[in-house]
Structures are given as C-alpha cells and as structure tokens.
Symmetry: C2
Subunit: 230 residues, 2 copies
C-alpha cells in the first residue's frame, strides 16, 4: 500500500473544495490580482516551512499535500493549531514575525507570495482586503470551535469530532486514510498518542468505525455524530 498521502490528498480534494475547518476556500482569492504572483515551491515530508520567531516574509497557498501549524513550549509540549490542505492559505501574521511554526506533513507543493505584495494589493483593492478579512474571520471561528473542544470535551468526543472533520475535508465519503500520525492527532487534540490510540480502539469496539492498518478508517458517521451532540 502506498504511503504517498500527497497523491491521495490531491486527488480527493479538488482545488475548489470548500474546507470545513481551517481557511475559507481561497481558490479564487488571488484570481483578480495579476500583480500578486505566486511562485511554486515544494517541501519534503516533515520539512519546515517557517519557524516561530522568523520574519514573516511570505504567505503560502497549499497546492497539494498538507501542512500543520503549531506552537511549542520550551519543554517540548506541542499544540497543533491547524492542518492546511489544498486550497488553504496560511502564514499571515499581525506583526512582522511568525508566532507559530509550519511544517509539511507529507511532500507538499505550495505557491509562495510575497507578504508585502499581498499587503500592497490589499491596500490598493478593498475587495481583496475584504477577502483577506473574511478568511481571517473564518479561521477565527474554527479556532473558537477548537477552544471549546480543547477546554471542554472528553477524549472520545475530541477524536469523534476530529474524524468527522477530516472526513468532511477529504470528500465526505466516510472512508479515508488519515494523512497524519497519531502524534499529530494527539498534539492537535490536546491528548497523548496512547489516549488517541485507545480511543480509536474503543470507537471501533463500539462499532463507530472500522480500521484497516493504522491509517485507513471507515466511519459510521451517525454514531460519531451522536457522540458529540453539538
């Protein structure tokens, strides 16, 4: 079985797909801005796109593959704040410095835009600035949903919610391969890898999903939805 999640992702997620949790669909964002040209670039699996504290010189649009953004504490504890899939934009900052890190989950292709060019375009064209605003507001909504998950939901609810979200982003068929490791899932959900693993086993035992190998899952979405109630 192939481990080329990049290929799988790019076939299952059309460029115009409306992403359920991170960014607003941005496939058309730069369409009317010929002055904002993206440069194609590639990152290998696990390669860093940018690190916390670096100058925020560019913004990025995922073409294929997947990227995680996260923050870390000095003792290594890590919180993944989001996964970016094809069509998503990321790398925007309020100041000049990146306040989080970004790494490629798999081999990933992106378009790179000069931050200053984007800001210039936003300053010149209100419609464009409004799209950026809209995108940020949408990201903020997802962040608030995730705060509720991290602050108030049980491990089973977190995992069920996560599976439903990933399914929706990967086409909504109910059957897919998780494009990230248990560690990434754990660091996104505020759990340990052992708890994620145990919870998946429990969900399978309860008939809420089936697994093939470590990554491939088939969800019984009605049961999972019932577990999160909201």
């Amino acid at each position: 079985m192939s481990t080329d999640y990049t290929a799988r992702t790019s076939t299952q997620i059309p460029a115009g797909h409306s992403a359920p949790f991170p960014s607003l669909d941005a496939s058309a964002l730069f369409a009317g801005c010929p002055e904002v040209i993206g440069t194609p670039f590639s990152y290998a699996r696990e390669e860093e796109v940018y690190g916390e504290g670096e100058e925020a010189e560019f913004v990025y649009k995922v073409v294929s593959g997947a990227v995680r953004t996260h923050k870390v504490l000095s003792d290594g504890r890590r919180q993944i704040t989001g996964f970016r899939l094809p069509g998503d934009l990321f790398g925007f900052e309020q100041g000049k410095i990146h306040r989080h890190s970004a790494e490629a989950l798999t081999d990933t292709k992106v378009l790179i835009f000069k931050r200053r060019q984007v800001e210039r375009a936003a300053t010149d064209r209100a419609e464009f600035a409004c799209q950026l605003w809209d995108m940020a507001t949408n990201d903020l909504r997802h962040a608030q949903d995730h705060m509720l998950l991290l602050g108030r939901r049980s491990a089973a609810e977190r995992v069920a919610s996560f599976l439903i979200d990933v399914d929706a982003r990967l086409g909504g068929t109910g059957t897919f391969a998780l494009p990230m490791t248990r560690r990434d899932i754990a660091d996104f959900l505020g759990l340990t890898i052992e708890t994620v693993s145990r919870t998946l086993s429990q969900l399978e035992e309860d008939g809420a999903l089936q697994r093939v190998g470590g990554r491939q899952v088939s969800l019984r979405r009605a049961r999972l939805h019932r577990m999160i109630e909201d």
Copy 2:
C-alpha cells in the same frame, strides 16, 4: 469596598490602551469613517448582548465595562473564548449568524454599529478593510495562544498565565481586582471553579501572589513568569 468593576475598569484602561490579548487596539478604527456611526447602548450585569444562532446584525465596541464571548454545549459545558475590555471590538462573523454568545460581565457601555454599514465601509475603503483584517489576524493569534494553553498547560500554568494577562490589560501594576467570577475564569481556562480556587490558594501559599477578599490580588510577577517559562 465597591464592586463597581465598570468604574474601576474604565479608569484603569485608557481608551487608547493597547490590549495585550484580545483585539487590536481599535480606538481609532472608525475615526476616518464618518459614515460609520456608532450608537451608544448599555447592558446590565449578566445581560446577553447576542446569542449563538442569532442573526449577526451589529458589531460592537466596548466603551466601559467588560464582555465575555463563549460557546456552550447542549449539556451546559461552556468555553469562554475571550474577554473584551474598553477599546475592543467584537461581534464579527464570517457568515450571517453569530457562532458564539456574548454577555456583559458588569454594567457595560458599548457603541453599536450596523454590520452592513461596516461592510460597506470596508468595501469602499481598502485602508479600513485592512484594519479589520489586521484586527481579525490579531484575534487569531490570541486564539492560537489560548489553544496552546488549553491543550498543553497544567492548571497552575493556566492560572499563572491568566493572571499575568489580566494584569497587563488592567495597567500592569501587579495589583488589581479580578473583574470576573471564578466560574468565568474556570470556563475561560478549561478548568472547574474548585481547581481555580485551589490553584490560587496554592499560588498564594507559594508566595506567587497575595489576596485580599475573593477578587483583589497582588502578583509577584517574576515568580509567576517563571512558572510559565514561555
């Protein structure tokens, strides 16, 4: 001793104060937009400003007092996503519906703006739209910081971090009265009121702060900072 936190807040936080965690300072946001007129309005302590699911017809700017925004699950579990103090703007949504609720912590004065007017102004004036974008990006950064807190920090770290943040927003003197209840603190930090209370007692025992009554605190900021290391 007075419990008029509204008055205390409004004297300790100048209108132009740069807020450390929620919104970008927005004191001048509508300055150049005479067509966007805010209507003064007041809310009593514990009064709802808007509820989740309601149409998002207005946006709000705090003049005095304080507001909390939160999400709730059907069984009552609540996650406060932020506290809004004078100068802060809130109530923006990506769609037409509020995805969270907002309530006044204390008697609160706000300026209300018609959402459609704000959007019109953003469409017309790129500079204005950029300010809104910037504000949303700033909110997003704080949301990401809070995800790290909720997902990966211990109760002691959460409380210490919270106290430092509130101190900074209330003037940075190290001595202040908490403008919210233990329940609000707990629901912001993803803890129970008992754990918040126990943690405060422990911090006092460790010499990291002193308390007078339930709300007044004096921080030893160096010690608190040492506890969060990041």
